[in-house]
């Protein structure tokens, strides 16, 4: 099936990024590229700077050095809401949903940026606002269908098991119709079956919607199976970058994972 997928030009280019918090260096001079329609994994041991990297990409952290080029636009600083408008959506390592709201409403919030009417219009819910709401609802229903979560459409997400919450979170990110989807450990804490489901959804998302995916993950099996391209970070530095098979055999990567002493 892979031959029908065409990986395109560079969508995101991170150039020589350095980020530090006071004296702590989280990322040191890292550059990487994510190309259109590919699945790129960022891996590394604990504290390697993976989540920081993600936070830099979607504008939550501001790097001291380096530039980010997204969709041809170069920028130093980025605000999260601008990143979202630009087409970057993400999920979080710890599920960050509105626990009191239903699955449907949670995913609906992902459409917020796409809504043209302001909240007063939405509160009145007549005429154009109502029409708009229905259009968005239809899109959200497609996502619900896609993620096979029809049965929990109206369930408050606080009552859902963890695996399903993660799926809802993915749904919310998809609702924004992102060009680039950043997934921060989408499979952490899941059992084998839930992992298999999640893998399938990630592959399907990439395949059906052509969404470019940036993925942080610890499960090596998953990473090697899913990704087209793997970037390995260790202690805030990039130690390897390439196709899964090459990365897997890289001595630096093996050392980092097996814990060779660093001087």
């Amino acid at each position: 099936m892979t031959e029908t997928r065409n990986i395109g030009d560079t969508l995101l280019k991170v150039d020589n990024i350095s980020l530090s918090f006071g004296g702590v260096k989280a990322i040191t001079g890292v550059s990487l590229e994510i190309r259109e329609r590919e699945i790129c994994a960022i891996i590394g041991p604990n504290g390697a700077g993976k989540t920081s990297m993600l936070n830099v990409i979607n504008g939550f952290y501001h790097p001291q050095e380096g530039t980010i080029t997204f969709g041809g636009e170069v920028r130093r600083k980025m605000r999260p809401h601008l990143a979202a408008q630009g087409g970057i959506a993400r999920t979080f390592q710890n599920v960050a949903l509105f626990t009191g709201m239903s699955t449907l409403d949670n995913i609906m919030t992902g459409r917020n940026l796409k809504m043209k009417r302001n909240f007063l219009w939405q509160a009145i819910n007549i005429g154009p606002a109502r029409k708009e709401e229905l259009e968005h609802r239809e899109f959200v229903e497609r996502i619900i269908d896609f993620l096979e979560i029809e049965a929990i459409r109206k369930t408050p997400v606080g009552r859902l098991p963890y695996g399903l919450q993660k799926r809802v979170e993915l749904g919310r990110a998809l609702a924004a119709e992102p060009k680039l989807l950043l997934l921060d450990e989408p499979m952490a804490g899941m059992n084998v079956e839930e992992k298999e489901d999640m893998c399938r959804f990630i592959l399907d998302t990439n395949d059906e919607f052509g969404t470019t995916i940036g993925l942080i993950e610890h499960d090596m099996g998953v990473v090697m199976d899913l990704s087209d391209h793997v970037v390995v970070l260790d202690h805030g530095e990039k130690i390897a970058d390439g196709v899964p098979d090459v990365v897997r055999a890289d001595q630096n990567v093996i050392d980092a994972y097996l814990g060779v002493a660093h001087e």
């Binding site: 029908t4 609802r137 049965a151 459409r153 399907d204 395949d207 059906e208």
Partner: protein, 654 residues
């Protein structure tokens, strides 16, 4: 031309009935399906249109009369319409259990010599594709849901819509074809082939003629007063004869509407939204619903629990009597009315039973308490007894003569007799099948020359003319001391406990009775949660001493009730173990309809059975399991065996 008209008005096949509905009630809802959160509807005229284009599309693929077509998938309007289209061309639909693994599916596809397969989605298409090379007759696969199918390049794979588009073209060029083909059909033709799940050996293809299905369905509709205003939810497998009758045959005879759930996970939600007038479920599902209610009640506020408990008492006292229009004192009537406002009404609404006129259960014995629960809150739950070979209906309980221990009286035109020697139940009815496909020998074994069918069930007819079923005739055995051993009877008694999901009992030719138990993960899991018991998986929970203690208590309770009956006191369960895995249809231990395949269980677990009849109380095991993706794995565990208290019938009397 008039010949065609005569034939079409004879209404002796389903396509003719369909055309008739298209003329007489074109705008009434025939089919519904929930998609993207919205109920979509097809009225009868739209169904006729869809069936016409699909049938013509199939014709353009070179479809010939008597071609067999596999139908694989969850209940979907498109699949029901596909059956109508196939029958319109004189073909024979062969619905296949949608949760079959590829191997099982291959057997049916090959045995039935299907030429086309119409499948629901990618999952089913993958299964059919994986066995395609071993099904020589299979020429084309048609899929309904295009999701995920974009990259499939097989030349014999077609989208449902594409076939219909070809059909439009074909229809334009051959405008008479569709009606001509329908007119060629007659009542005696084989209309459908249903594969029985088969507790022994390979599944058998039961051939049913249009007459079989239509006459039986008309009789059932008349007796149970089904009209075109009725509404049913089609959620049981299409390959199962019950669904074929209720969601297809009876619906086409009476012209009522059939709704398909959004997915198999949403059945209960859809049920509530829809509020059907009739509902069929095996006891297992009624039990799950009740368990869910009880589990949620446990979590409710104390005052709610008190109100619930009080009014359930009221319901128990007078609900069933009210349902059967028997005399009830005024005060009780008033209390029941209050209960109806506070508890029963909302409860029925939550369960989706607010419009229910009749609910049926069958296939297995149902627990008396479970049965009473539904009847007491005003749901007219009845038992029926049937078989694929009879087009389901053999007996149904009449509305005012419902008794949990019987399966009711014969349906119209059905005769029943009991074989004196073996106590086996035999019947003869217009629904009796034509024969097993390509299996003359089995047909002769089951059906006598003069049309009597052996059910394989032992039973008797009681003084009121109601049929009572004891067990499978061949399963009834004897303990070494001569006590009768009816395994299914015992297992049903055990399964009536909410904590026990499945039980298998042993005892034929042994000194005492022993049992394998599968715990119910929902109810035991909830119990574990309330008692702060951590567990990782089924195996983990099942092996807990605390769980063993509870199951032991449940078994002893059953033993006590067995002790009350002198003829059964000897068959109390003396030792048991909780299996390390759920018995599963994927592993061949259950049939697709959830019945135990004893022979396979005996073979696979012979070491465990041996241990039950030894003095060991701990045994190591290693078991092979088949995962959903078809891979095989091994579970290792150490199983505990426990003794249970056995009561003497004297002790009970004192």
């Amino acid at each position: 031309m008039t010949d065609r008209q005569d034939s079409l008005s004879s209404l002796d096949t389903f396509p003719k009935l369909l055309l008739d509905h298209g003329i007489n009630r074109p705008n009434r809802v025939a089919l519904r399906e929930k998609d993207l959160g919205i109920w979509l509807t097809w009225d009868w005229s739209q169904v006729v249109e869809n069936v016409r284009s699909l049938a013509c599309g199939l014709a353009s693929f070179g479809f010939e009369r008597e071609d067999k077509v596999a139908i694989v998938g969850d209940n979907r309007p498109e699949l029901y319409m596909a059956m109508m289209a196939i029958q319109s061309l004189g073909g024979i639909p062969v619905p296949v259990y949608q949760d079959s693994v590829a191997e099982e599916m291959q057997y049916v596809l090959e045995h039935a010599e299907v030429k086309f397969a119409i499948v629901e989605n990618q999952e089913q298409a993958d299964k059919v594709l994986s066995v395609q090379d071993r099904c020589p007759n299979l020429t084309s696969i048609i899929y309904n849901d295009p999701r995920g199918m974009r990259h499939y390049r097989q030349s014999d794979l077609f989208a449902y819509k594409e076939v219909q588009a070809r059909g439009h073209q074909f229809d334009k060029n051959n405008p008479d074809y569709f009606l001509d083909e329908i007119a060629k059909g007659k009542g005696a033709d084989v209309g459908v082939m249903l594969y029985t799940s088969g507790t022994t050996g390979r599944p058998k293809g039961v051939m049913l003629s249009y007459d079989n299905v239509i006459i039986t369905c008309r009789n059932a509709n008349a007796r149970e007063r089904f009209r075109d205003t009725d509404d049913v939810l089609a959620y049981l497998p299409m390959a199962w004869v019950g669904d074929h009758a209720i969601s297809y045959g009876q619906a086409l005879c009476a012209g009522y509407s059939v709704s398909c759930p959004e997915s198999s996970d949403t059945v209960m939600i859809d049920l509530r939204e829809l509020g059907p007038t009739s509902f069929f479920a095996p006891p297992r599902i009624f039990e799950n619903i009740l368990t869910n209610v009880m589990v949620r009640m446990e979590d409710a506020a104390p005052i709610k629990r008190k109100i619930f408990a009080y009014f359930m008492g009221v319901a128990k006292k007078s609900g069933t009597k009210l349902l059967e229009s028997k005399p009830v004192p005024l005060l009780d009537r008033i209390m029941y009315s209050i209960g109806k406002i506070l508890v029963f009404g909302p409860l029925r609404d939550t369960l989706g039973f607010s419009n229910i006129r009749i609910a049926y259960t069958g296939g297995e014995a149902i627990g008396p308490e479970l049965f009473e629960f539904y009847r007491s809150i005003g749901v007219n739950l009845k038992q029926l007894y049937g078989q694929t070979e009879a087009t389901v209906y053999v007996t149904i309980q009449p509305d005012d003569e419902v008794n949990v221990e019987t399966v009711g009286t014969p349906v119209p035109d059905c005769e029943i007799k009991i074989d004196e020697a073996t106590k086996e139940v035999l019947y003869r009815s217009p629904g009796v099948f034509v024969g097993y496909y390509k299996n003359e020998e089995a047909t002769r074994e089951t059906k006598t020359e003069d049309g009597w069918v052996h059910t394989g069930d032992a039973g008797y007819i009681d003084d009121d003319g109601h049929v009572r079923i004891i067990d499978r005739a061949k399963d009834v055995g004897k303990l070494n001391d001569g006590t009768m051993f009816a395994p299914k009877f015992l297992e049903n008694k055990l399964k009536f406990h909410a904590n026990i999901r499945e039980a298998v009992t042993f005892g034929d030719g042994k000194d005492y009775v022993t049992a394998f138990i599968n715990i119910d993960l929902d109810s035991m899991g909830n119990w574990a949660e309330r008692n702060n018991l951590n567990y990782g998986s089924y195996v983990d929970l099942a092996n807990r001493d605390e769980v063993y203690a509870i199951i032991k208590g449940n078994i002893e309770e059953s033993n006590r009730s067995l002790a009350a009956d002198p003829s059964l006191a000897g068959s109390q369960v003396k030792r048991f173990l909780i299996l390390h895995k759920m018995l599963d249809a994927d592993d061949g231990e259950l049939t697709r309809t959830g019945k135990i395949r004893r022979k396979i269980v005996f073979e696979r677990y012979d070491d465990l059975i041996e241990a039950l009849y030894s003095d060991k109380d701990l045994i190591p095991i290693e078991a092979k399991v088949t995962f959903e993706n078809g891979k095989e794995g091994v579970i290792k565990a150490e199983l505990k065996i426990r003794d249970t208290e056995v009561y003497s019938s004297v002790q009970k009397a004192s």
